[in-house]
């Protein structure tokens, strides 16, 4: 797996190896790579900008652009894996997560590959959120939280006063600017950052119009073109290690929007039992092979609420490594439910990968809700407030 290639087994300085190597064998284990171990493997553990090894299993991780989501996924997204976002019904919030991912790539200096059938990738890049620098972060947070402070939240706790200052879910701004940044959704990313970055765009209508009408093949024409495009970029830019001139390793961040929608030529959203039910699953299978062999991470948004066949949804989730589902309250009966009045939707972490492990890093928290504030997208524990409609089972009197 490519994820372990740069930090091969010999260079895993975390944990037990360090302890066993020392004379006198202490059981204290240091988490994190040792600075001294860098020279041992030559260029194998050269640290790539914007990545860090996981504290649990040393897997190389990249940030998804949203530190709260990184925390829920166990530190970040592993290099060589796919993050699948199941879109919400009106496709309001999934483009946000998509843009956070791409913006994080630009800030970290990674190469981007943006594929879409609906919008031109250049337009998508123009709309990325602006990064918040560290010294402005705290100010933005305080301002944001002050704006929607309700009277109830101002009540100081009488008994549990020590917990007053603890944040609800996500940590504050990270002090080091190397992994996980904060973004201001109300502002656009500065133009010079986009121009300084390297990116490739794949806009399906352009690619299809220039080609001849396709003869039927094993995969939808659009998917085939996209896979060929990704493969060519990986090969030319040396993300799979074939190009020996590459001295500075970098990560390729791939973003594919609305995969499976009819605009890609796939009709799983239109009919339940079609002949080409397997196009999307074949695409994901081949994509996963490409990713595992290269230093890349991919985010895909899929309109799973439109897919008619439930089996296809299950297969698509199985073929992806990490699956996050967004459910917005807009238009559903939950919009008027008093439990949910502070939030805009629920976020479901459906699957976390088990990479080189026997167990995945599944958090115990299942009730997560998100809220899009003016500048920030926050994920919080959904606090179950006092339920006024609590129905008690009938109690018979004691006599």
């Amino acid at each position: 797996m490519a994820a372990t290639a740069p930090c091969g087994s010999g260079a895993e300085e975390t944990g037990s190896e360090a302890a066993a190597g020392k004379p006198g064998g202490t059981s204290f284990q240091r988490k994190g790579p040792r600075a001294g171990g860098l020279d041992r493997g030559g260029s194998r553990l050269v640290s790539i900008a914007g990545t860090r090894p996981s504290v649990r299993n040393g897997q190389l991780l990249v940030s998804t652009g949203l530190p709260a989501l990184d925390q829920l996924l166990g530190g970040g997204l592993a290099v060589g894996t796919v993050l699948l976002i199941e879109e919400d019904k009106y496709d309001i919030y999934s483009p946000l997560l998509f843009k956070y991912f791409l913006a994080e790539g630009i800030i970290s200096g990674h190469t981007l590959l943006v594929a879409s059938a609906k919008e031109d990738p250049a337009d998508i890049l123009q709309e990325l959120p602006a990064p918040l620098l560290d010294n402005h972060c705290k100010k933005e947070f305080d301002e944001d939280s002050c704006n929607d402070k309700t009277p109830e939240s101002n009540i100081e706790m009488k008994i549990a006063w020590r917990y007053q200052l603890l944040p609800k879910m996500q940590a504050g701004p990270v002090s080091s600017s190397r992994f996980g940044h904060y973004y201001d959704v109300s502002k656009r990313i500065p133009q010079e950052l986009i121009e300084a970055s390297k990116w490739y765009g794949f806009f399906l209508p352009e690619k299809l119009s220039s080609s001849l009408p396709a003869e039927p093949c094993y995969l939808t024409h659009g998917y085939l073109k996209l896979l060929q495009f990704i493969q060519s970029i990986i090969y030319e830019d040396g993300f799979d290690g074939t190009n020996p001139q590459k001295k500075q390793k970098n990560i390729l961040r791939i973003g594919i929007q609305n995969l499976g929608s009819p605009l890609w030529g796939d009709d799983i959203c239109c009919t339940e039992n079609c002949d080409n039910n397997h196009n999307l699953t074949k695409f994901l299978y081949v994509l996963r092979g490409l990713l595992r062999n290269s230093l890349s991470a991919c985010i895909i948004t899929v309109p799973s609420h439109l897919i008619q066949n439930k089996a296809v949804i299950a297969r698509v989730a199985n073929l992806s490594d990490t699956v996050v589902g967004l459910e917005s309250f807009m238009g559903s009966e939950k919009e008027t439910n008093p439990l949910y009045k502070d939030y805009h939707g629920l976020i479901h972490i459906r699957k976390i990968p088990r990479l080189n492990n026997l167990t995945g890093d599944i958090s115990d928290v299942k009730d997560l809700a998100f809220k899009l504030k003016r500048k920030l997208f926050t994920i919080e524990l959904e606090l179950k407030k006092e339920r006024k409609d609590f129905i008690m089972p009938s109690v018979t009197p004691s006599e």
Partner: protein, 303 residues
Amino acid sequence: KRRPSPSAFSRAVCPPVALPDSVQWEGRSLLKALIKNAALRGDQVHVLGCEVSEEEFREGFEPDVNSRLVYHDLFKDPLNWSKTGEALPGGPLGALRALCGRTQPGPVTIALDSLSWLLFHLPCTTLCQLLHALSHQNACPDGSSPVERVHVLGLIHEELHGPGPVGALSSLAQAEVTLSGMLDQTSAHIVNRRLRQRPTQQTQWFSILPDFSLHLHRVPAREPRPCPPTTQVDPTAHLTFNLHLSKKEKEAKDSLTLPFQFSSEKQQALLRPGPGQSTSQIFYEPDAYDDLDQEDPDDDLDI
């Protein structure tokens, strides 16, 4: 008494508007009203007619509206059997592609009557891609002309299709107008999905006059009564023990001093440790039973 709600799927305008309708609430008159609106606004209107004949469609429009209406007829001879050369070349696919490749300047409105007919003759994915291309044909190859407004209106009969195609088409639409109503009044439930903003929903009652102008109503007099609020069950009602506190008991509870409840200065000092506090501090707060004797007890030792 509520009728089953139909959905008129009107695709609107750039991005498309979908007008779903059903057997009970006919959507074509709303489509014609919107077309008339567009024509009077100065747009050039192209109509791809598939379900009714041209004469029937043009009926009821004023002459100036009719002059701005360019009718592409797919009703008379959709499969080009008569071979007179009158039919549109390429069938429905060719007609749509021709509309996509239109290069005339000026704002334009394209009305598709109906999307249901097109869905039966074209694969759904092709139709979605063509509709997307129709509404996004702003970019010219040379980039010289400014961005033109293209409005696409589509009528779809929701009952004829399963949830799949309707859902797929509505995900492309910027506004979706569902027709329903009560007795003899029609309402339109509009979901407006502007780009990059939260969608809005609203319900608008309207009626269409014989000359196809749109008359918007306020909320009609007879509205269905809202269902009465369900009574809330009080869980403390039938217990064998007392959960309520009297006023005196509440006061006593509030004034009780809790064991780890410190004074507010001590709380603040513990919550926010100061910069120079590397060593721990000792806070002494005398209890009610503490005996504060200021004398040094070692004074009387004889050393």
